[in-house]
């Protein structure tokens, strides 16, 4: 039964991915990628990776979709015209990469194999000892926060750096933005020149 659900969900993901390639409307692309993430989170849920499923649903399907829509608000919904030139070369590259990846997948341990290397290295220690060593019922939390605390610090720094990058690139502060719109529009009359940060209407040449 679980196998059937897995297969159906994966087919759904494949269909979403194919639709993503062919759809030209950017709004539909964002929605489809949200659906893709939500399906992936369902798959994680079926594999009992609840924490990962939670993150995927919150970040992949939630925030990423909202940010995509916000970006769409900036650049506008444009239907890009399909390129006329032949894309045979790209197809060959994708085909070869796919064949190589499928070949490599043959060497991977079988799905759910208890003797897979990943289950024989440090995982038994986490499962058997973390209750005494860390004392947190959720092993995922004890691995994430304690055993692998240094990695998680790196992840936090990545998030911090991403926010800083967005601020540096797009977060230019124009002084009037710091004030509520009404105050700026009505209470401060730019023509009176009462405030040195409000550009006058004919001041464009100075600013640009």
């Amino acid at each position: 039964m679980i196998l059937l659900t897995d297969v159906i969900l994966m087919l759904f993901m494949v269909a979403t991915a194919i639709a993503l390639v062919f759809v030209r409307n950017l709004f539909a692309v964002i929605m489809l990628s949200g659906i893709f993430s939500l399906t992936a989170s369902l798959l994680y849920l079926l594999m009992d990776a609840v924490d990962v499923a939670f993150t995927e649903a919150a970040v992949g399907a939630g925030i990423a979709t909202v940010l995509g829509l916000a970006t769409l608000g900036i650049i506008g919904v444009q239907d890009e015209k399909p390129q006329q030139r032949s894309s045979l070369g790209s197809f060959v590259v994708v085909l070869i990469t796919g064949i190589v990846l499928i070949q490599a997948a043959n060497d991977m341990p079988a799905f759910g194999d208890p003797d897979a290397p990943i289950h024989r290295h440090v995982a038994p220690r986490y499962i058997e000892q973390s209750g005494e060593e860390v004392g947190v019922p959720n092993i995922v939390t004890s691995v994430l926060a304690s055993y692998r605390g240094f990695d998680t610090m790196g992840e936090v720094m990545v998030v911090f750096t991403a926010a800083c990058g967005v601020l540096v690139l797009m977060g230019r502060t124009r002084k009037p933005d710091d004030y509520p719109e009404e105050d700026y529009r009505e209470d401060i009359d730019p023509r009176e020149g009462s405030s040195d940060f409000v550009p006058k209407d004919d001041d464009e040449s100075v600013r640009s």
Binding site: V50, D51, A53, F54, T55, A58, V59, G62, I63, V66, L67, A70, T71, G73, I74, I75, G76, Q78, E132, E133, V134, G135, V136, P137, N138, V140, T141, S142, L144, A145, S146, G149, F150, T152, M153, E155, V156, M157, V159, F160, A162, A163, V166, L167, M170, G171, T173, P176, D177, D178, P180, E181, P199, D201, D203, E204, S205, R207, S208
Partner: protein, 170 residues
């Protein structure tokens, strides 16, 4: 934005407090069930995003002041690293929570995990709020018109007259 849609506004307004409460639950219940700082931060930020979708980004920014949000963005990371150095100061390795409570290492682990998850949650929440506000509140300057395929790029002098400053807001 949606001032004229009372149902959306009332429903969303009533949803925001439970969303924040759920974020706090996910944050502090991460030791026992699924969840933790990353998920809680994203959920907490989504409350602010929902609010700014209803009342507009400019209004939402009056609640989440950018100075406060940016300070908290840095504070979360500092809290995390600070816990690491606190462990060093108390005689352990970096991020070795056992050293936080010399008498009861498991209690030290609990304390350390609680604090660093709080740091993660604060940084992720404020980072998401910052990124969303930056994207949603972004307006091209009058000197750089928004891409519009149907319009030819006007000359620079024409542009100053065609688009008066700050006219693009409404």
């Amino acid at each position: 934005m949606m001032r004229e849609k009372p149902i959306l506004r009332v429903v969303s307004k009533n949803l925001i407090p439970p969303i924040m409460l759920f974020a706090l639950y996910v944050q502090f219940h991460g030791d026992f069930g699924p969840g933790g700082g990353f998920q809680a931060g994203v959920i907490f930020a989504s409350a602010f995003i929902l609010q700014s979708l209803i009342i507009g980004v400019a209004e939402a920014r009056r609640v989440a002041r950018s100075a406060l949000v940016r300070s908290l963005l840095a504070f979360g990371g500092i809290l995390y690293i600070g816990v690491g150095f606190a462990a060093v100061a108390m005689g352990g390795n970096f991020l070795d929570y056992d050293a936080l409570d010399p008498h009861d290492p498991v209690h030290g682990q609990h304390l350390g995990i609680l604090l660093i998850e709080l740091g993660v949650g604060i940084t992720v929440a404020t980072a998401m709020i910052t990124i969303f506000f930056t994207f949603a509140g972004y307006e091209p300057l009058p000197s750089e018109p928004a891409p519009d395929p149907n319009r030819e790029a006007p000359e620079r002098e024409d542009l100053a007259q065609a688009v008066p400053p700050h006219e693009g807001r409404r």
